[in-house]
Amino acid sequence: MTTYSFRLYVAGNSERSHAAEVNLRFLCDAHLSGMYEVEVVDTVARPELAEEGRILATPTVVRLTPPPQRRVIGDLSDHGRAAIALGLPAADASPMEGQ
């Protein structure tokens, strides 16, 4: 079974950062039955990692595996669109909208 790994770039401990992480984990739980890894990078604390990843906008989610790499910006509040943009497999049950 494919393991999905994501890196989530956020800027500081803001509400938007928090929302993005919650939404990402929610989507992964729903679509990937827990088979995933999420690494959260705070660009304020680690700007060199943002530089390396050439990140401009926060939040930005990068799907590292499986290839191809995908990027989505925003807090992922629209779960349907976020799942498609991240290329997640269809969920067992329709997830609820919102956080």
């Binding site: 660009t43 050439r54 401009l56 906008a57 926060t58 930005t60 925003g74 807090d75 509040s77 669109r81």
Partner: protein, 506 residues
């Protein structure tokens, strides 16, 4: 609101730019530099940082939204800016924010530019930068489709830059000249300071100008100022009309190379004089110019001889027919000849080439024969600016200068004659050559119409040219045709008889 003189300035180091801005960009603030494609925005940004490092030892951060850092490094290197070296030395850092080709990042939900701000702050801290350039903002609008968010976030970036205390240049593209400040309406967030670069066609010539639209609370010059992009010096704002009044005038005299003319001028020209000789084609202007150059060489002075109309061969041949050996003068290292047609470049570039030659050769005298050739490539206002800028350089160095001109441009005589009284007003000495109709023949006549600070001869004298030079004779006794109209109305150059003036060549 801050008072008009309290805003600190940061000199850009861009040639001539401090004159227009009256000291440089407002320090610790953001300035928007807006222009159409190819107007020189990126170069401005690159130079702002490069000059900062070279002249003021101030580090810089370049945030690129459009070109890759590789492109910028390469283009900067072609102007002699070793960006790579500065990066290694920790004086220059790139924040690469250009979109990867083919990469389309979908947006789902709200976002901001927190990561970009963090990266810029990081780079500024790493290098200790005092200067930041963002080039160009438009590219970010194409990367991120929600222009409302982008505008808001750009405001945030500008605030972050101000908070860091750095002086920044943000470039933005305008869709066309003379219409709004930028595309996408990015101006409101940095509207405090706005500069517009233009690249327009005027009279069939590419003309670049820079205009300070506003510097909040800070003085600056208004209007459009010509600039050029010099392969050696980058952006050069031609310092037109920035005449620094000379605090002393030379009392030393130099010879014109024609003893009788020296006498007419009260004992030769002052060393710092600008001399204008006008006259129709063939009247003897080139002859007088060459005598003037020869007099420099005889006195052991260097002379720069510039002609915008012809080839060195023709010039050397004419000189030889008057007994002047230009080749020998060149060989002695006392003469440098710059020949070329006026059309090969813009007046700004001619100016720079001349200025560079003056700096390099350090002549005691300069000859330009003739200014009228430049009329073919320059609007009257531009040509006047050219002369003003040049005289500023010349007076500063006390270079005795001889300029020649034809009464009216031969090619555009329908237009106003060449800047006429304007150039004469700038010149210290104005000598007019003319043809006059005698009882049985056409004669040449010379008059000194003006010689500042000297008692000069007011008569109109006959002269002739032969193999040994120019020989000025007795004053004309009867009122000749030709001179009277030319002199009386404040020195109009054109006279009804000007058609007669196409006489035998000298």
């Amino acid at each position: 609101m801050t008072g008009s003189n309290t805003i600190e300035r940061i000199p850009t180091g861009i040639s001539g730019f401090e004159h227009v801005t009256l000291g440089g960009l407002p320090a610790g603030r953001s300035t928007l530099v807006s222009g159409t494609t190819g107007s020189g925005k990126t170069l401005f940004a690159v130079e702002f940082l490069s000059r900062g490092i070279m002249r003021f030892n101030e580090s810089g951060v370049f945030v690129t939204f459009e070109e890759t850092s590789t492109d910028i490094r390469r283009n900067a290197a072609s102007l002699g800016f070793p960006v790579q070296l500065w990066e290694d030395e920790g004086k220059w850092a790139f924040v690469e924010a250009s979109a990867s080709i083919g990469e389309d990042t979908p947006a789902v939900g709200a976002y901001d530019f927190g990561a970009l701000v963090a990266r810029i702050e990081h780079a500024v801290r790493q290098t200790g930068a005092r200067r930041v350039a963002l080039d160009s903002l438009n590219a970010i609008f194409t990367q991120f489709t929600d222009s409302g968010i982008v505008r808001h976030e750009l405001f945030r970036i500008a605030s972050a830059l101000n908070a860091l205390g750095v002086t920044s240049v943000l470039t933005a593209e305008r869709p066309e000249e003379y219409d709004g400040v930028t595309r996408y309406g990015v101006e409101p967030f940095v509207l405090d300071n706005v500069i517009i670069l233009r690249n327009v066609l005027r009279q069939g010539r590419r003309t670049r100008t820079v205009e300070i639209v506003k510097f909040r609370g800070a003085q600056h010059r208004t209007g459009e100022w010509l600039f050029t992009i010099d392969p050696r010096d980058g952006i050069v704002v031609v310092p037109l009309a920035f005449l620094t009044p000379s605090d002393h005038a030379s009392l030393a005299r130099v010879s014109s190379g024609i003893p009788e003319l020296d006498e007419m001028c009260g004992g030769g020209f002052y060393r710092d004089a600008i001399v204008l000789i006008t006259g129709p084609t063939g009247a003897g202007k080139t002859m007088a110019s060459l005598r003037f150059a020869a007099a420099a060489v005889e006195a052991g002075e260097r002379c720069l001889l510039c002609t915008f109309d012809g080839t060195p061969g023709q010039l050397f041949r004419s000189a030889a027919s008057w007994g002047l050996d230009l080749k020998a003068m060149q060989a002695a290292g006392l003469l440098r000849v710059m020949c070329g047609y006026a059309e090969v470049m813009s007046p700004e570039d001619h100016f720079l080439q001349l200025r560079n030659a003056i700096e390099e050769f350090a002549p005691g005298r300069l000859v330009i024969d003739t200014l009228s050739a430049l009329e073919r490539v320059a609007a009257p206002r531009t040509l006047l600016d050219f002369i003003i800028a040049l005289t500023a350089v010349l007076r500063q160095r006390e270079i005795t200068t001889l300029l020649t001109g034809t009464p009216a441009g031969r090619f555009n005589s329908a237009n106003a004659p060449l800047i006429t009284s304007d150039v004469a007003a700038l010149a210290d000495v104005w000598i007019q050559l003319r043809y006059v109709t005698g009882p049985v023949e056409i004669q040449r006549a010379i008059a000194v119409l003006q010689a500042r600070g000297s008692a000069h001869d007011h008569s109109i004298r006959q002269f002739r040219i032969d193999r040994t030079g120019m020989h000025i004779g007795e004053p004309l006794t009867s009122a000749p045709h030709g001179f009277t109209e030319a002199i009386s109305p404040g020195g109009a150059w054109e006279s009804p008889e000007s058609e007669v003036t196409e006489g035998p060549s000298g």
